[in-house]
């Protein structure tokens, strides 16, 4: 069976700075990957390449047998399968929560307003904020906003979800409510790649851990081995630093 995502020898430069070096990564259907590593290690850049928010310079990205090249069809085809949640939520501030959720389904998927609203309400139930449907994003707490952002992605019924530090902009007391939603999705069998520093979450939800540093994948393995017996020194140092707190 084809992999959900296949990445081969991926390279990405920002000017003369090499952000990604020969990345190889395969993700199976239903697999939950957590990527961690120090800031500037290329974690975000890697997942942003998958849904073509960044264009890679060389190498190959294949999502569900569709190869990502720079032509519009492959970008759109892959975009239709991949949802993304950002650190800064990026909700549309001029639209109500419900409209944030129905915009894509109506304009892109061609659903009728009532179908789209029905779907949106079902998903808001799932992220446990149906009562916020008619509020503006600015009236919600950070945790609620991020759950709306997750719901907005889910409304497009993606097969793969990418999370780019989904809890890094949240106050500590709101992190759990967002992680619970992500765990719930994971238990439902969603293929996902999560960039995060939340190691408790990683232990709970990840099938595989990926540690990156300076644009390279340094270590990869099951969470148990990864946390209890890291093989490389860089990974040990990193884990020590973030687990101390």
């Amino acid at each position: 069976m084809a992999k959900a995502i296949e990445i081969k020898r991926l390279n990405k430069w920002f000017g003369s700075y090499q952000a990604l070096k020969d990345i190889d990564l395969n993700v199976s259907h239903g697999e939950r990957i957590v990527i961690c590593g120090p800031s500037g290690s290329g974690k975000s850049t890697l997942i942003r390449c998958i849904n073509s928010l960044e264009h890679h310079d060389s190498g190959q990205i294949t999502v569900d047998d569709i190869e990502l090249d720079q032509n519009k069809e492959s970008i759109a085809a892959i975009g239709a399968e991949v949802g993304m949640v950002f650190q800064q939520f990026n909700l549309f501030p001029h639209l109500s929560v419900l409209k944030n959720l129905t915009l894509g389904p109506i304009k892109v998927r061609g659903l009728s307003r009532s179908e789209a609203e029905e779907r949106a309400m079902r998903i808001l139930e799932r992220v446990q904020i149906p009562e916020q449907a008619h509020k503006q994003p600015s009236e919600l707490s950070g945790g609620q906003q991020q759950r709306v952002a997750i719901a907005r992605s889910l409304c497009m019924e993606p097969k793969i979800m990418l999370f780019d530090e989904p809890t890094s902009a949240l106050d500590p007391e709101m992190i759990a409510e967002v992680l619970d939603v992500i765990v719930d999705l994971a238990e439902d069998g969603m293929t996902m790649i999560v960039v995060t520093h939340e190691m408790g979450f990683a232990r709970r939800a990840a099938d595989r851990m990926v540690f990156m540093d300076k644009g390279e994948i340094i270590e990869m393995g099951a969470p148990k081995d990864f946390f209890e017996a890291p093989k490389t020194k860089r990974c040990k140092t990193f884990l020590n630093q973030i687990l101390q707190h």
């Binding site: 849904n51 975009g79 991949v82 949802g83 990026n90 549309f92 894509g104 907005r152 992605s153 409304c155």
Partner: protein, 254 residues
């Protein structure tokens, strides 16, 4: 504040005119005499043309500006280049020479292309004002659109919206709040620049004042009134702009 300063200034001028030295002759625009009344009516009748001219030119300028601004923000430099050239080129041409070129030159160009178009003073002035102003409106659009966080475009892209959908449903509705107040300010500029239409014979405020000066030999009084006419027009618009800004600002903080 401004209004009070100007009223005091105007009062001084009026009082000066009432002195016995006889340097002022308000009689030319004294509405209590038949001649003065007719003169004032003649002058005020220019308002219609000035306002109509400005409004049509402003609307056209907003449309052209958007068409110029959008490719100007592309990642593709070959799309960006024509927009940049247009803006730099149009901004560099003074209004009056452009007006002459459009009014006297453009019909010749069109004729050589087989189009027999007669450009009258009204449309000549509108075309010139719209084009000349569009370079500035394009820059206003650009700064307004670029002030919207890049994350909005990215989020729109990840839910599958294409470029025009992203602009229409996500970016422009947010940018409009930052674009409208400076655009309205630009409208004031158009109103003032419409005075140039007088030189190609457009019967607006300035043209009428000029014509009356020729028959009445009272430039001081007539041009004073002319300035006041523009002042009133612009003050009304800037009052509207101020209200608009307050309303937009209130929305923004919500």
């Amino acid at each position: 504040m401004t209004l009070r300063t100007f009223s005091i200034l105007f009062l001084c001028l009026l009082l000066a005119g009432c002195s016995s030295s006889g340097t002022w002759g308000w009689y030319v625009i004294d509405p209590t005499t038949k001649q003065g009344y007719n003169n004032i009516r003649f002058l005020l009748n220019g308002f219609g043309a000035t306002i109509l001219l400005s409004i049509i030119a402003a609307i056209l300028s907003m449309c052209i500006g958007l068409i110029v601004a959008l490719p100007g923000m592309s990642h593709n430099r070959w799309l960006r280049l024509p927009s940049r050239i247009y803006i730099e080129f149009i901004r560099a041409i003074p209004l009056l020479p452009m007006l002459f070129w459009v009014f006297y030159g453009l019909p010749v160009v069109l004729k050589s292309m087989g189009i027999n178009a007669n450009i009258d003073a009204f449309w000549g002035a509108i075309i010139t004002l719209a084009i000349s102003d569009s370079a500035f409106t394009a820059e206003i659009y650009r700064s307004g659109i670029q002030s919207i966080n890049k994350g909005q475009t990215e989020a729109a892209k990840t839910i599958g919206l294409n470029y025009s959908q992203t602009m229409r449903y996500v970016i422009l509705p947010q940018a409009i709040k930052r674009i409208l107040p400076p655009l309205a300010n630009q409208f004031i500029y158009i109103v003032k620049m419409s005075a140039f239409a007088s030189v190609i014979g457009m019967q607006e405020l300035t043209r009428r004042a000029n014509e009356l000066v020729v028959t009445e030999y009272r430039p001081l009084e007539i041009y004073t009134l002319l300035i006041l006419e523009y002042l009133v027009l612009v003050l009304i618009i800037s009052f509207g702009v101020r209200r608009l800004e307050r309303k937009m600002g209130a929305d923004e903080s919500k």
